[in-house]
């Protein structure tokens, strides 16, 4: 899938795999870090409004899990900032200053987030309820802001604007233009919505599993309903934004679009390909929907779509990876939409969850599906940009650290991530079972509540 030796640099493959592993890991936790605080605050707020002890207990438990997730989010994110330099010094040494502004802004957001998280998690017993609720709001804002900033930096790698270069050195920079590049609007909005989907569906799926095991009390029903409602509201919007993102790609990164759709020959009235694999420069076994790609990408059934053959083979991304990642993301997006509509219809008719066990089963799978869509989407974006690290400006092979031995670093980092994954999953499962909620003497009603 990814060739391990490119341009004679054996370690390039290792560096790319290490980056993909660390980012793919971090992004899941980061999505929970963006979406979960909002959902937790919603529960806490409902608890105070209605006095319903179940909401308050849910908020307390989610906050507890957040403490763990934020810690692993912070450390895995720190590794990423190291890796930007350890693995890609060629990128950072030249272009680091251009993407420095969004990262600096992100640093401020992290600070706000970490500060208020410390207060929110540890001062439950030191603050009156309303002040405590308010202390959570900066966490939500800062989480969304940090996702926005970091994706702006990534978007610049897709659409590098706002600078001039003279013989390999940066001459002038307009950092604001670089940050608000043409790819930023679609990518950031799509990412932030994805974070809410991932958080909502994942949290709901935990309670769906519990309900399938027979725990159907109000606590578990609310634990499913609240996050699932959030995710269900976001899903249709996300599909619309995804379409917007595809238009942006069609206009700005035609090679990526061609790889996403497996289009080789430039033509008008191009069909949409469902499935299929690329063999010898041709997409085979795909189901074709006539003119649909031209229509979707440019709102015109006869619009021209540029094919991969326009660029030399060395400038093309791996078609199968990008094509299938795109199909998987879109497919899962529509599958999640079906779940959302199911919930909405049942709620409209009966003010209740659908009674079918298949609804619970589907919800139990929805968390994994949302995460898979997220990873697939990033693969489209990042692998679809290859062989460029900065689209059209710098090749990935020019950016990599030429020092020998990166392979061993990759092996070591992989081992640590495996251990980290096992420990995180284990600890979160224990938390769900037997650990009491954080202390808050002024809310004894909740502290003394036993969960089955």
């Amino acid at each position: 899938m990814i060739t391990l030796t490119v341009d004679g640099i054996a370690d390039l493959g290792a560096a790319r795999m290490q980056m993909a592993l660390s980012l793919g890991w971090h992004i899941v936790v980061a999505c929970l870090g963006v979406g979960m605080p909002a959902i937790t605050l919603l529960a806490e707020w409902r608890g105070h409004r209605t006095g319903d002890v179940h909401y308050r207990l849910l908020a307390r438990r989610w906050a507890r899990a957040l403490g763990v997730l934020f810690a692993v989010g912070a450390v895995s994110g720190t590794i990423l900032s190291f890796e930007m330099g350890l693995l890609w010094p060629g990128l950072m040494g030249t272009y680091g200053e251009i993407i420095g502004l969004p990262f600096s802004l992100e640093g401020i957001a992290f600070f706000i987030e970490a500060i208020f998280l410390g207060i929110y998690l540890y001062a439950w017993d030191r603050l009156p309820p309303t002040a405590h609720l308010l202390s959570g709001i900066p966490i939500v804002l800062a989480g969304v802001a940090s996702a926005f900033f970091v994706v702006c930096a990534n978007a610049w790698m897709q659409q590098p604007v706002g600078f001039t270069a003279e013989n390999g050195r940066i001459a002038t920079v307009d950092p604001w233009a670089a940050m608000f590049n043409p790819a930023a609007p679609t990518l950031t909005v799509h990412m932030i919505l994805a974070a809410f989907m991932v958080a909502g569906f994942t949290m709901a799926s935990v309670y769906a599993v519990a309900m399938l095991r027979g725990r159907r009390d109000r606590y578990h029903r609310l634990g499913l309903l609240l996050p699932l409602t959030v995710a269900a509201i976001v899903t249709p919007v996300q599909i619309g934004v995804g379409d917007w993102a595809a238009h942006a790609v069609a206009n700005n990164q035609p090679v990526k679009l061609a790889a996403m759709e497996g289009v080789f020959e430039t033509a008008r009235g191009v069909p949409l390909h469902l499935g299929g694999i690329e063999i010898d420069g041709e997409l085979r076994y795909a189901l074709e929907i006539p003119n649909a790609l031209s229509l979707l990408a440019h709102w015109d059934p006869h619009a021209e779509i540029r094919g991969l053959n326009e660029v030399p083979p060395a400038d093309r991304p791996p078609v199968n990876v990008v094509h299938w990642a795109f199909q998987i993301m879109v497919g899962l997006g529509f599958a999640l939409l079906v779940l959302a509509v199911w919930l909405a219809l049942s709620w409209k008719r009966r003010r209740d969850l659908p009674s079918s066990p298949w609804f619970l089963r589907a919800t139990a799978c929805s968390g994994v599906a949302a995460v898979a869509a997220l990873e697939a989407g990033w693969i489209v974006t990042e692998v679809g940009r290859q062989p460029w690290i900065v689209y059209g400006v710098q090749r990935t092979s020019e950016a990599v650290n030429p020092a020998p031995g990166l392979v061993y670093g990759f092996v070591l980092v992989t081992a640590v991530y495996v251990a980290l994954t096992v420990a995180t999953v284990y600890v979160l499962r224990r938390l769900a079972r037997d650990v009491p909620v954080p202390i808050a003497p002024q809310e004894r009603d909740v502290t003394d509540y036993k969960v089955v």
Partner: protein
């Protein structure tokens, strides 16, 4: 001051904050490691956990701040340092993962074997991480990171007398700061025996760090004579003196049980050392590379520094609230609720 100088100063402020705050969090881990068996060490570990729990993530962000400012403000230096020193930096990064994650995991685990496993990971990585970060500082200070990408010796750059001395000094400083801060925390918690324990450690550790600094200077004289000359006779001399005086004063204050005042002098001693190095080395960043050669364009510096200034308006009150909330004692049981 021109923008590159301001940027470098801000970067150094961030580094100082990282050493003073997060350094002490690492030191807490070191004392956790040395606290003894699961039963005898329980109260000490609880004190450490209680003190660093709410603040370590915020303290940790200073490191991210320093890294981001490096690639924004002096990108070629960042690239040279990260590529040549990728081995100790990777190890430090893994230590950071182990420390942060294990600390959070231990907090929520209930069984002894889990607490032991996570506790050991937390404590061990608390020693390793400052050590490797120290070797990186030593590599830069002794001019072993040449400009360009991965142009330096991948091993010799950080396995050398200055780096090893700096690594040891980093670990010692972390332990010392933690002992000083924990003495006061124990006093506030009303644990007289822990106060004594940490006071003794702070005294011992302070003496060790003093000796380590002196040894470090000797190593520097042999290994990096130019920097040594700047520090001991050039413009950095006042900072070195400040560090020595504050260090001695700290020992006296500890002896006399002035636990709040010693926080200030201990921090000053460390700050003097850091700024002495910075001022001594300025304006050269890497061999043959001065700040003017490496600095980013002014538009970038202006935008980033401006944003940070605006951000500081949000941050400073928030940080103050964080520390104030946890340095204060719990709100008394509210009258409208059942008492405990």
């Amino acid at each position: 001051m021109p923008l590159p100088e301001i940027m470098l100063a801000v970067l150094w402020v961030g580094l100082t904050a990282y050493v003073l705050f997060a350094g002490a969090d690492f030191g807490g881990g070191i004392w956790d490691l040395l606290a003894g068996g699961a039963v005898t060490g329980r109260r000490q570990r609880a004190l450490v956990e209680h003190s660093i729990g709410p603040v370590w993530e915020a303290n940790h962000v200073w490191l991210i701040f320093v890294i981001v400012l490096m690639w924004t403000g002096i990108p070629p230096v960042f690239a040279a340092v990260a590529s040549t020193l990728y081995i100790p930096l990777t190890l430090a990064a893994l230590g950071i993962i182990g420390r942060g994650a294990a600390f959070a995991f231990r907090k929520v685990s209930t069984e002894l074997w889990q607490q032991r496993l996570f506790g050991a990971t937390f404590a061990f990585s608390s020693v390793v991480t400052p050590f490797f970060l120290g070797t990186v500082a030593g590599a830069i200070a002794s001019g072993r990171v040449p400009p360009g990408i991965a142009k330096g010796d991948l091993v010799g750059s950080w396995v050398n007398p200055t780096s090893l001395a700096a690594g040891a000094l980093a670990v010692g400083t972390a332990a010392y700061l933690a002992a000083v801060y924990l003495t006061r925390d124990a006093e506030r918690a009303g644990a007289a025996d822990l106060v004594d324990a940490f006071r003794r450690r702070a005294l011992g550790c302070g003496a060790v760090v003093g000796v380590l600094s002196a040894v470090g200077l000797l190593v520097l004289r042999a290994d990096a004579p130019a920097l040594f000359a700047e520090i001991t006779s050039g413009r950095a001399l006042p900072l070195l003196l400040l560090s020595v005086v504050a260090g001695l004063a700290s020992l006296v204050l500890l002896w006399r049980r002035a636990y709040l005042a010693v926080r200030v002098t201990a921090a000053l001693a460390v700050t003097g050392l850091l700024w002495g190095w910075g001022v001594g080395q300025y304006p050269s960043l890497l061999p043959g590379v001065s700040l003017a050669d490496a600095a980013a364009t002014d538009t970038v510096l202006a935008a980033s520094l401006g944003s940070l200034a605006v951000g500081a308006l949000l941050l400073l009150p928030s940080l103050w609230w964080l520390y104030a909330t946890f340095q204060r004692d719990r709100v008394a049981a509210r009258p409208d609720r059942r008492p405990d």
